[in-house]
């Protein structure tokens, strides 16, 4: 056994816990999770059945922690997990799993399959079987500061533009304010209007906030690749900065996996509760709407549908905020069938959008057909979402299928129609 494989198997032994043991023992092999997975649904290939993607983890569990498994391994009935096998599984664990969590929702015995995928990635990453795309993103986040290799000057530039557009001076590294605002790299590069929108709304609501020059990046590639030690280093930047500045809240940007990383994984990674509260931007906006601060001067007229990002809604628990907000700003909001926690993933979550191999991109394009159908069936030309990663992936899908659909960010849409 190679040293890296040894490390990988050891990591799997380490992450297997009581929930994993009970999940594997509870699985009745009904296959319902297959129907919940967009990759299976759009390809029809049974290898994309979610529970099957966990085969290496299941075997390690069986061989290390069960009596029959141990006996089976001893007499050679159960084969040990090999490097070749993990390499083969790379596609199943990363390319074809966005950790959207729809499979966990449908499992009749309540197995949280995503919980296990996250754990399997620990073994995959440390044994060197993570995709190059995510490896690169992780490397850039650790060494430079963000998955896209952005440094503070880029953020400062965005801040400058936002100040110019709104006429509001934006705090940097200012202690004692209410909010520490985080951004994801995609918002810095592709959607700088998000910060402008936020500044506009916060000014209106009288909320004080700051950005931090040592903690601007909200995303966490360490979680996507499945290396908790690295994820801890990355999330600690935000925690240290927020606690140093003494803010009450850390504001997660629209980006879904950033919210999951800072809100749900963070405290577990550092092993203690935060001294501040993490809120998703939509939670804050919904609170403002209920207080009557979010008054619209006019409404968006065109019919539109909403794409609920998995990590914010289904996995993140921000279930109630999106619909009232979209109804505040849109005259013609059309609810789709699989909405809210049943929504279909864009196809690029969980780090998948960082994988740029030909096969992975082709697979993503195939999986996007389900999104395409949702749009076509509702007969609209506008879709609104609130996750920067979803936006990138969906726009790639639009390009691939040459669709004329317009994609908008919810916060920007709200800011645009906000009463002056």
């Amino acid at each position: 056994m190679s040293a890296s494989l040894q490390k990988g198997i050891n990591a799997l032994k380490e992450v297997i816990d009581a929930p994993v043991a009970s999940y594997f023992n509870s699985c009745v092999h009904c296959g319902l999770c297959a129907e919940a997975c967009l990759f299976y649904l759009e390809t029809g290939d049974v290898k994309y059945t979610p529970i099957h993607k966990l085969e290496p983890l299941r075997r390690v569990y069986e061989q290390e922690y069960t009596l029959l498994g141990r006996l089976g391994k001893m007499v050679g009935l159960s084969k040990a997990v090999t490097d070749d096998e993990l390499e083969e599984w790379k596609e199943l664990v990363y390319d074809s799993c966005t950790m959207c969590g729809r499979c966990s929702m449908v499992c009749p015995v309540g197995n949280d399959i995503v919980y296990m995928v996250r754990k399997l990635r620990e073994g995959m990453a440390v044994s060197g079987h993570a995709p190059d795309g995510i490896k690169g993103a992780t490397k850039r986040t650790v060494e430079i500061g963000g998955p896209m290799g952005l440094k503070w000057p880029a953020v400062a530039n965005v801040i400058k533009k936002a100040e110019a557009a709104t006429g509001v001076s934006i705090n940097v590294d200012k202690p004692g304010v209410d909010y520490l605002v985080l951004l994801s790299s995609m918002e810095i590069v592709n959607y700088p209007e998000y910060l402008e929108a936020l500044v506009k709304i916060f000014k209106k609501a009288g909320i004080s906030f700051t950005l931090a020059s040592d903690a601007f990046e909200a995303t966490n590639a360490g979680i996507q690749i499945g290396a908790s030690d690295i994820a801890k280093v990355i999330v600690s930047r935000i925690i240290n900065s927020a606690e140093k500045l003494g803010v009450k809240y850390v504001l997660s940007p629209e980006c879904g996996h950033a919210y999951m990383a800072i809100r749900w994984e963070g405290p577990n990674l550092i092993g203690r509760p935060y001294k501040f509260e993490v809120r998703h931007v939509l939670e804050v906006l919904e609170e403002l709407r209920q207080k009557g601060v979010l008054k619209m001067k006019d409404k968006f007229k065109e019919p539109l549908i909403l794409h609920d990002p998995c990590q914010i809604v289904r996995r993140g628990g921000v279930l109630e905020a999106p619909e009232p907000l979209i109804q505040t700003v849109a005259e013609n909001y059309i609810p789709i069938v699989d909405k809210q926690k049943w929504n279909w993933c864009c196809g690029g979550g969980g780090g998948a959008s960082a994988i740029h191999t030909e096969e992975a991109e082709a697979l993503r394009a195939k999986a996007f057909r389900i999104k395409k159908r949702q749009i076509e069936e509702s007969g609209v030309n506008t879709m609104v979402t609130f996750c920067a990663n979803c936006r990138i992936v969906i726009e790639e899908g639009f390009d691939h299928y040459e669709m004329n659909t317009q994609l908008l960010g919810l916060t920007e849409l709200l800011a645009e129609h906000l009463e002056d």
Partner: protein, 363 residues
């Protein structure tokens, strides 16, 4: 062959031929050689007048009189009842006309006159609790009476399960401290005729043997005559073929019960009960418990009342709840052991963990 017994029988409409048939049957039942039947008949027929007939003293202790009912009323006026004409039953509280001091006198006279020769029949158990105060006759405890009467007896017959094994009085929690005759008397030959009650023909058969040969028949390790207690109810049961075919009644009113299938699953104790019910039957050969549709209770075995329930099949676990609790405890212990083993494995995996760095992501 002439004699007082034959005369008496003839007066009661029993022919000589019938009497011989009875003796031959009795002999064969007791597995005696064919010649024994004639010897028996001769011995009984030749039994002299009442004054010279062997004396029998019957002492009742903690009992229900069921044994007396069995030997007398059930078969009266059949030949088993009449055999008493061959003996001199000098004391039997239930049957004798005398009472009080007269009865006591009869008892003491019989013991004195026939010392060393009389046969002592005991039914009922002997209470030892509260110095024997639970059962007294004429101011004497049963223990005193038994010891006194046993002293001059040639042999003792412990009639019924109470006298033989302690019976129902001895059943848990045995409030009176009841014991069997054999627990007290150690220096006299004792023959146990258990059953609740015993089969009449077994009683008379033993008496006939005693009369004919002047000795007791061959006994098994529990002091029971092998002739009647040599085989189990199950081995001689007419429902045995159903048992062998695996056909069992599951309830008392199901199809199997109506078809007369084996009552094993309804708690029949036949397989562990040694008695002659299946061959001799009851009420003059009319029927017997299993034939009437009910399983054997095992009444002729020691402590039958505490055997764990009459309707619990023999092969069922005596206490399924206890077994389940034990199994659960064993399972839990195994689970704990495996947990510790698995925890050790997991913590060694944790100990082997080296902080993952970017370099580790490359193979």
């Amino acid at each position: 062959m002439q004699g007082p017994l034959i005369d008496t029988l003839a007066r009661q409409g029993v022919t000589r031929r019938t009497f011989f048939k009875y003796c031959a049957t009795l002999a064969s039942l007791m597995a005696l050689p064919p010649s024994a039947g004639r010897a028996m008949a001769e011995a009984m027929a030749a039994a002299p007048a009442a004054s010279r007939r062997p004396s029998v003293i019957w002492l009742p202790f903690q009992e229900c009189t069921g044994c007396t009912e069995s030997i007398t009323r059930s078969h009266s006026p059949s030949i088993e009842g009449l055999i008493f004409d061959a003996i001199s039953l000098d004391y039997q509280e239930t049957l004798m006309a005398a009472a009080g001091h007269q009865a006591e006198e009869a008892l003491h006279n019989a013991m004195k006159e026939n010392e060393g020769k009389y046969l002592l029949i005991v039914d009922g158990s002997v209470p030892l609790g509260l110095d024997g105060a639970y059962s007294c006759i004429a101011g004497k405890t049963n223990l005193e009476s038994l010891k006194e009467a046993a002293k001059g007896a040639a042999a003792i017959v412990a009639m019924g399960s109470c006298a033989a094994f302690g019976g129902i009085p001895k059943a848990n929690p045995n409030p009176t401290g009841a014991v069997a005759v054999s627990d007290i008397i150690k220096d006299k030959p004792i023959i146990n005729i258990p059953g609740c009650p015993p089969i009449p023909v077994v009683i008379t058969g033993v008496l006939a043997h005693f009369l004919t040969f002047g000795s007791l028949p061959e006994l098994d390790k529990l002091g029971r005559p092998k002739a009647f207690y040599g085989e189990t109810i199950h081995d001689r049961c007419y429902r045995r073929p159903f048992y062998d075919q695996g056909k069992f009644a599951k309830t008392f009113d199901d199809e199997g019960a109506r078809k007369g299938w084996c009552l094993f699953e309804l708690g029949c104790k036949g397989p562990v009960t040694y008695n002659a019910c299946a061959t001799v039957k009851w009420n003059g050969g009319t029927s017997w418990p299993v034939e009437s549709g009910h399983g054997c209770l095992g009444c002729s075995e020691p402590d039958f009342w505490d055997g764990g329930g009459f309707y619990r099949a023999l092969s069922m676990p005596a206490d399924p709840l206890k077994m389940a609790a034990t199994a659960a405890a064993v399972g839990a212990a195994a689970g704990v052991a495996i947990t510790f083993a698995n925890r050790a494995k997991k913590s060694s995996a944790k100990a082997a963990h080296e902080t993952v760095t970017l370099a580790d992501l490359e193979k």
